[in-house]
């Protein structure tokens, strides 16, 4: 279909015409699929999962290579200035030991108080442990590829965390790999609170690797630099008391925070069952928009 008129040949003219029709059909089919995947994202779960199964293991293998190369460089870097580092770490360890004894005492007291109140304790179980092997590095959305999938019991809607903090939740699950909606995505809204004083806040991704935190009650800005934001467990999707982010910058009525679990450097990602199983059944309960 390069030129307006290919000559006098009827055959060539028809060929041109039909290829024009085919392209227009392609546009229409694309628009219909796009509308469907925006309105009813769950319809394409299987085909998206299959694509993840193709790329996930490849990314995992390549990730091993790049992680080894990176480890060589950072490993060499650790020897630089080792004596000073050692002294600093020893001081830190002493301080940590004292804090740990305090924490253990508080933990015991807490358990006794809970026993008195007869609170039902949610046991925290692990569905699967995987590695972050890729990300949506060419899109305004913030997704990551996780190296475990439905074969390991991973289902859509499950929260993902690392030992450092919350990473996000599963939105596509293939058999061998799955896709995670990171906390730094703009569509991911996490009910949270301040660790310092328990003020309820809302954490929403900013799309550039940081998180926007706002207090639920309008009024004085409750944030200080260095504040830790933890999940509150409201909504039932994310488990409570998981660290999310650290405040790095204040603005008018909220603050910008940096997620504590950096997907680029985190070694393990732990997939957990939804805190309240009912929350996963209704995607709207996570107080966020539907995600394609």
């Amino acid at each position: 279909m390069a030129t307006a008129r290919p000559g006098w040949s009827r055959r060539a003219q028809y060929g041109l015409f039909f290829s024009l029709i085919a392209v227009i059909a392609g546009i229409i089919v694309g628009l219909i699929l796009l509308t469907m995947s925006l309105v009813a994202p769950h319809q394409f779960q299987r085909v998206r999962g299959a694509a993840l199964d193709v790329t996930g293991p490849v990314a995992g293998a390549l990730h091993e290579v790049s992680a080894t190369a990176e480890g060589l460089f950072t490993g060499a870097g650790n020897y630089w200035d080792a004596a000073n580092q050692n002294a600093g770490l020893k001081r830190e360890r002493q301080a940590m030991l004292r804090r740990m004894v305090e924490a253990k005492a508080i933990f015991q007291e807490n358990r006794q108080l809970k026993a008195v109140l007869q609170l039902r304790e949610h046991e925290r179980s692990t569905i699967a442990v995987g590695r972050i092997v890729g990300s949506s590095f060419n899109s305004p959305r913030r997704f990551a590829i996780l190296s475990v999938g439905a074969n390991d019991g991973v289902k859509i809607g499950m929260p993902v965390r690392s030992p450092d903090g919350l990473i996000g939740r599963i939105i596509d699950a293939g058999a061998l790999a799955s896709r995670v909606l990171l906390v730094s995505d703009h569509a991911n809204i996490v009910p949270a609170r301040l660790l310092r004083n328990g003020i309820p806040v809302i954490a929403q991704g900013r799309g550039d690797g940081t998180v926007d935190v706002r207090p639920l009650e309008v009024g004085r800005n409750p944030f200080k630099r260095g504040d830790i934001i933890i999940t509150s467990g409201t909504g039932g999707l994310y488990p409570p008391l998981v660290a999310i982010a650290r405040v790095v910058k204040l603005d008018d009525d909220g603050a910008v925070a940096l997620p504590l679990a950096d997907p680029a450097t985190t070694s393990f990602a732990i997939v957990e069952p939804p805190f309240e199983p009912a929350a996963a059944a209704s995607p709207g309960a996570s107080s966020s928009a539907e995600v394609p």
Partner: protein, 173 residues
């Protein structure tokens, strides 16, 4: 074409590769697969590789593939990049149509015209991605889209050069 015919280094017995017809589409799919590289970036500034190669081929030749192949190629790109399904199908088909219309209008072309053309297409691609992310509430402020557009436009010549090298190789030149 003309310049290639004038080069004296052409040897006898060289012919297009047997599967030369499928090479352009294969390179587009390979570029889409780059999305599964283990790059963990929190900024999203990397270019849309599949689209860059797609536009690169289409600007180099009027018929690198039958026009309707744009839809399946877009489908592959959607699957591997995690875009909402149907986005690249519609956009890539529309790109074929628009570039055909432009082919009719333009009397002549040079390297800079093609770069500007590709730049406009890339900007439209990034804007649409932002617009669709906005529809589902996942879009960052629009100002954050400037770096990926600029980066993509700047690396386009590199992709166009690679495409022209592959084209020469597949035709046995």
């Amino acid at each position: 074409m003309v310049r290639a015919a004038l080069t004296p280094t052409r040897r006898i017995g060289k012919a297009p590769w047997r599967y030369a017809r499928y090479v352009p589409a294969a390179t587009v799919i390979a570029a889409s697969l780059l999305a599964s590289l283990p790059i963990i970036s929190m900024s999203g500034w990397y270019p849309d590789f599949g689209y860059l190669v797609f536009v690169g081929w289409r600007l180099l030749r009027a018929d690198p593939w039958p026009a309707w192949w744009a839809a399946p190629l877009g489908f592959v790109n959607d699957l591997f990049t995690g875009y909402p399904l149907g986005f690249s199908i519609a956009l890539w088909s529309a790109t074929m149509l628009v570039l055909d219309l432009i082919d009719r209008r333009t009397m002549w072309r040079d390297y800079r015209t093609e770069w500007v053309l590709a730049g406009v297409l890339i900007a439209i691609d990034e804007w649409l991605q932002w617009r669709i992310a906005d529809l589902v509430g996942g879009a960052p402020p629009f100002s954050q889209m400037a770096p990926p557009v600029i980066i993509s436009v700047c690396v386009f010549p590199l992709f166009a050069w690679m495409v022209s090298r592959i084209d020469a190789w597949r035709l046995g030149r």
